[in-house]
Symmetry: C2
Subunit: 107 residues, 2 copies
DNA sequence: CGTGTAAGGAATTCTGACACG
DNA sequence: CGTGTAAGGAATTCTGACACG
């Protein structure tokens, strides 16, 4: 699932670079993690590593915060979104299997 | 030029992560820079930042070193390669402009 | 609730050099 | 030539806490 853009989800970016990329403060970035909105991995030494997807997600979060949405609510929204996209992915995958089986093509 | 894979060329990875990703030592990574084989950018504080392309390039370099090729020679090879690909890009771009003008399609 | 900040410590990175071969 | 290493310093990141509102 999701074979495109192999680099987008690799967690390799330190918080300092994320700060520059998003314009957010470290404090904000760490707080959104505390509120379960973002999930960096940790290096051996304990420093956080983010992916480009995480950076994009942080910008979405920052927009919502600015609109007055609370972290609690943002979490719900993001969970809903990820559910929707996994459904879409499953749909695509199943359709792909059907096509593979019967050689049909839509449209 | 090169609109695909927007993340591949962004220099956001610190040397520690490059070390993990490539299996090379810092010493090796810095030495290849000294020999003009790789060109990280610097953060405000002076630390090196690499892109995923750089990581791939480093793995190519490491392979050649292992084959006994000297950095001097590797530099020549890499320069040749980049010349070839810019030519290919120009060709693609020109063809794209021709197609845009005349609406032709090959094949 | 979301964010700034000062505090102290630990991990990360930097440079220039010596060593070996 | 290519790489390891010890050295000293500077930049980066970490956590827990106090503050404000």
């Amino acid at each position: 699932m999701r074979s495109e853009e192999p680099y987008k989800d690799k967690k390799v970016i330190t918080i300092g670079v994320v700060r520059e990329l998003t314009g957010l403060s470290d404090r904000q970035i760490r707080y959104y993690e505390e509120r379960k909105l973002i999930f960096p991995v940790r290096s051996a030494g304990g420093s956080r590593k983010y992916s480009f997807s995480d950076v994009e997600r942080l910008m979405v979060i920052a927009d919502k915060i600015e609109d007055g949405v609370q972290t609690h609510e943002i979490r719900r929204e993001l969970v809903q979104e990820s559910k929707r996209s996994s459904k879409a992915e499953v749909r695509t995958m199943i359709q792909g299997q059907i096509n593979a089986q019967f050689g049909t093509r839509r449209q």
